[in-house]
Symmetry: C2
Subunit: 352 residues, 2 copies
């Protein structure tokens, strides 16, 4: 039985983390001071713009310790922050990790959590430069601040979509939500479920930060956001920020065979997964219609992620209209994670 946090104390735990980072982390020459002083410090590159984001995950609310191991939890927590930097067109560089921990937590779990952070930071040679540890008696929490850089003026905002722009989305929004539901469904909770591609989409989410940066560098997009609040929720943020509406062609929405099949088993409409709350960290991009092909080519040159044109910016302001092949129309219910309202919250007030 290994050490628990209370056996080695805060300073002992800091020592263990520093040791792990020095062996397994990245060393960035621009970092002038890392863990172990009042603040970390680094030299920003000439002509850069600094991006900074933070996101929290609370045990039992954003992750399920029984369903994910500490390395998976670490990966997911860092991925959601990397996605935020990537959705602005930036490259992640420096992370600060603030943890609220129970004294009985095994030290090896914390080391695995950090290995999860490093596993996704390593692709960018990004480093963990600081943080904070504190004791909590109830639910543990992970709060990450991630600092990134872009070339000055290359940031892509969410509030700059233009009337008539095409709406493009990467990957398969909804996979993560369906995977979570599968993981939680009693009916299907057997060993084999863990390897299901949709469950993997939940447990090991990907980000599109490389793609986001390439799009930013290209200057082809008018607006961009990641789908951390769900496809319709985040398209809603673009519409709200830009003071416009959107039209989605339902038959063009990316829907995998896997999602179609699992939706049937779960007795759900697959489009509820595609449009609803889901932690997929895909990108929604708006662009002039004649840039669609260029964006698809650009992303294909980097990865094999699907890039789908799904609609147009236009119609009534703040309204997302779903167009069906038979010509019928319906308003999308924009739902996103609202942590203070039970379950998912209909945010019709934002739509009209």
């Amino acid at each position: 039985m290994g050490d628990r946090i209370k056996d080695i104390g805060e300073f002992g735990l800091i020592g263990r983390i520093q040791h792990l980072l020095s062996r397994e982390g990245c060393v960035d020459p621009a970092v002038t001071l890392s863990l172990g002083d009042d603040s970390a410090s680094f030299q920003p590159r000439e002509g850069c713009e600094i991006l900074v984001t933070c996101d929290s995950m609370v045990e039992g609310r954003h992750y399920l310790p029984g369903k994910m191991n500490p390395m998976e939890i670490g990966r997911r927590a860092m991925t959601m922050n990397i996605s935020d930097i990537g959705a602005m067109g930036g490259v992640p560089r420096y992370a600060l990790i603030s943890l609220g921990l129970n004294e009985d937590t095994p030290v090896s779990d914390i080391e695995e959590l950090y290995r999860g952070f490093l596993d996704v930071l390593r692709d960018f040679e990004a480093s963990i430069v600081g943080g904070n540890l504190t004791k909590v008696d109830g639910a543990e929490f992970i709060d990450i601040t991630l600092i990134g850089e872009t070339e000055r003026g290359k940031v892509i905002r969410r509030d700059s979509a233009r009337e008539g722009d095409a709406i493009v989305v990467t990957g398969y929004p909804g996979h993560s939500a369906a995977g979570l539901e599968l993981l939680l469904s009693k009916e299907h909770s057997d060993e084999s479920i863990a390897d299901h591609p949709l469950v993997q989409a939940y447990k090991r989410p990907t980000h599109r930060a490389r793609e986001g940066k390439a799009i930013a560098d290209s200057g082809l997009a008018s607006a961009m956001i990641d789908t951390s609040d769900g496809f319709a929720g985040d398209l809603g943020h673009i519409c709200e920020g830009s003071g416009l509406g959107a039209i989605l062609y339902v038959d063009q929405l990316p829907l995998s065979d896997a999602l179609r099949k699992i939706s049937g088993k779960l007795r759900k409409d697959p489009y509820d997964f595609v449009l609803g709350s889901s932690d997929d960290y895909e990108l929604i991009i708006t662009c002039a219609p004649d840039h669609i092909r260029k964006i698809q080519d650009l992303i294909e040159s980097l990865s094999n992620v699907l890039v789908t044109e799904v609609g147009r910016i236009g119609g009534d302001s703040h309204r997302i209209c779903l167009c069906y092949p038979d010509g019928s129309e319906k308003d999308a219910i924009v739902s996103g994670w609202d942590h203070f309202v039970e379950g998912k919250r209909d945010a019709e007030q934002r739509n009209g």
Copy 2:
């Protein structure tokens, strides 16, 4: 009865915070994107070094809701982060606020908390540029990431003290700890206690960020740290980082009449307060002995804070030796806040 968080939801609360910040916060032209996108962004100044620190406060552990109002809690949380930036010689610029909140918390409490943040940020024209809100069922938490700037190469570290350096301290370390004990003591828990200067030192702590920056600019100090882990604990960090020891002259330690009097009432040795864990956010500065007077003059030119020479860097490595006027000596027990060990933790292993 005003709104509670669950009445307006996460997005409603974000809206209220944005409204408050736009009216009462500072606008920095270097900020290119603030709250309301995936990340915030800003343009670093030419030739600057970026400092970044984070600190958490957990309800019931770092603050007592019944004993402090939300504005005081906000002030204290931001002050401890400003102190970390100041102890490096930096100027605070941008804050990100991550909150874990109960759904029943009144919205007005959160607004007051933000007013507390702004109250201390305003002195530096620093702004709140981002954050995160999440629901917790148990203890609420406040996690602040604060970003600062210094001129390149002006950062003062904790690990660069030199043999023979003088040790100088600002203000009266221990006031905050004594104030907290007074506040919690049943014997003295009456209305008038709230106005006691030591209780005020706990409830409205000051930072020495302006003084820290002036010292950094002057190049007079060899090492610097704030006393967030208590005087002996943080002097211990300097010794540990620098691979040296320290000698403290007990009769030179700053001890106010107020602390002496309250220690008597509390039946405590006043030097236990001065040396032990206390959230004072004073500065410990090491410097060549012939710089002491210059540092005192420099700080006096900015504020009326006391600056006291209290000892020398030297003696056995990693040992803090207390010298009494009668010539006797004693090792200081270096105690600092260790959140995972009950109460305060003797960290003798760090001292020998």
